[in-house]
Amino acid sequence: MDENRAPAVRIRNVSKRFDDIHALVDVSFDVPPHSIFGLLGPNGAGKTTLFSIVANFLKADNGTIEVLGHDTRHTAELQGRLSILPQDAAFQRSTPILEQLVFFRTLDGQDRASAREEVRRTLELVGLGDYAKRGARALSHGMMKRLGIAQAFLGTPEVILLDEPTAGLDPANVRQIRNLILELRERTTVVLSSHNLAEIQELCDHVAILDKGRVVTCGPVAELTSSARELDLRLSRPLDEDELARLTSLVAVASVDPRNAPDYALSLDLGEGRDWDDAVASVLRTLLDLGAVPRRFYEGQSLEQHFLAVTGGNGEERGAEPTSN
């Protein structure tokens, strides 16, 4: 099989139960090669379980997973080609982090001298160069996360799984990690999970949404976010009721969601003969007449809207899920 054209990760009919809880139910999708693939879902949707099965930490009850054409139950063929940032996995507290990462690289087959050099470089990259000779007990939660990312980036893995890579990081580090992920796109397939939908939308070209252990949506982000006639606007100020009524009275506007004012989500009614551009232009003209200047303009659904639509979630539930930034 030509690995350049075959999916980097192929998941087929994977199910997993923990006692009477169905963590994953018949999950199937492909991750295209050299893509940044986002795995989304509410808490408990099964994202971490799926990552754990791909990485062979957990055994699936049913189904198969292939990474780069190899069954993941046989890790020997994937050593050095697949890496992961697992969630909440601990490093050894008393062994210097440099030594731990060098140990990982020597397991991969690298000699100690070049492994030390590479590890030092990688630790510098994630801002942990000064902690190289200290044990993990000296690291904060955010530093630990960066250390986990460092070990996932070691070597030249062809597929990297990142389970919530930016959770718990400060904004500067989040930006740094996102840039690192974007730099990987050329040579690596990245599968990442996150609660931060804006982050997924920014980074990923493909996405799968899990809900209650099932895949409810899967496809290119661009396709998912343009599959309905939606208009997201951020205005310079909130609209009052009269202004809102005027906007709603436009023929092309089916409804306006003002709950997050001055962010508004408009559903456009493209009845027979109505053109999308004309409908958008009428909305913008009306807003400018009212003196409410659009600061942000987004056609189609945002990933967040799509996510809420397919998972049946709402803002309150989302608020209960802490995002990393």
Partner: protein, 298 residues
């Protein structure tokens, strides 16, 4: 998880890393100190009364001293071999240990023979359970096969346990040779080497039992408790069962308790056979643990 999964290069790396980490983190060091303390405490408990006896006896000749040593060591050896009831089948064995070999060393070895298995859980309880619980193994699982992790750590624990035996027995042998001076150097050396062989080969199945228990749960404290309870429990159960019916001692065969004293038999063939039995126990327990570790969620 078959032998075919094992990569000797990775096995060696994991073994060395585990030993370093074990000493650095303190758990290995605690076992090391505990086993050293126990070994030297036993040696002191056996040798000190004898030294006192010699110093109080004034100018006793070598023959009297030797007889004094044998009288002193006899109850320990007789109890260990036959529960104090030496019969026709065990007389030659007892005499071999008391007259044919340095009696003080024989007494020490028999106490260590019963004490060492009870100490092993303190060194072997956390081979994998802690890293299963805190998910630390997840950084390794894509880098090597589970067999390498399991057997690499088992090997590291065996090496540490045997290293402690070597230190304890070398210290005792040196003390007997240089300070007590009632046996000639060759007798001490050869009997110490056989004692070291016996205690080392005895260590293997008990470390393997701990590896199996450690691979079966994700809490180090549970592992320690279960390993101690199993190892001590089998001995206790065999002892109590023996009081009720003659065949009760067979319970001891669940672990090497039932056979281990044969490691100090005068007949080489029986010693070799017993060593083989210990290896067989080791293979079975290690395999059961490896099978569990291969199939479980980590």
């Amino acid at each position: 998880m078959s032998v075919g999964d094992i990569d000797t290069r990775q096995l060696k790396l994991i073994c060395l890393h585990t030993m370093r980490h074990s000493l650095r983190s303190g758990s290995g060091l605690v076992y090391f100190l505990l086993a050293m303390f126990f070994g030297l405490f036993v040696a002191n408990a056996v040798i000190s009364p004898f030294e006192l006896m010699v110093s109080q006896s004034g100018g006793a000749g070598p023959a009297e001293v030797e007889q004094g040593v044998i009288q002193f060591a006899r109850p320990i050896v007789e109890w260990a071999i036959a529960g104090g009831n030496v019969g026709p089948g065990t007389t030659a064995w007892v005499e071999f240990l008391l007259n044919g070999r340095p009696a003080l060393l024989s007494a020490i070895f028999f106490i260590l023979l019963f004490g060492t298995p009870l100490l092993i859980p303190f060194g072997g309880f956390n081979q994998t359970s802690g890293d299963i619980g805190n998910r630390g193994l997840r950084y390794l699982l894509l880098r090597t096969e589970r067999a390498n992790i399991y057997y690499g750590r088992l090997l590291a624990n065996i090496i540490l346990a045997v290293a402690v035996q070597i230190l304890v027995i070398a210290t005792i042998a040196l003390y007997l040779g240089l300070k007590v001076r009632i046996y000639d150097g060759m007798a001490i050396t050869t009997w110490s080497l056989q004692g070291l062989f016996a205690l080392s080969i005895l260590t293997l199945p008990y470390v393997a039992v701990c590896a199996w228990i450690s691979a079966s749960n994700d809490s180090p404290m549970t592992s320690l408790f279960v390993a101690s309870a199993v190892i001590g429990g089998v001995l206790l159960a065999a002892f109590l069962a023996q009081l009720k019916w003659d065949g009760g001692h067979w319970i001891g065969w669940l672990l090497p308790w039932g056979v281990q004293k044969q490691l100090f038999r005068p007949e080489l063939s029986i010693v070799v056979l017993t060593g083989g039995a210990c290896l067989l126990y080791t293979v079975v327990f290690a395999w059961l643990g490896a099978r569990k570790f291969r199939t479980r969620d980590v």
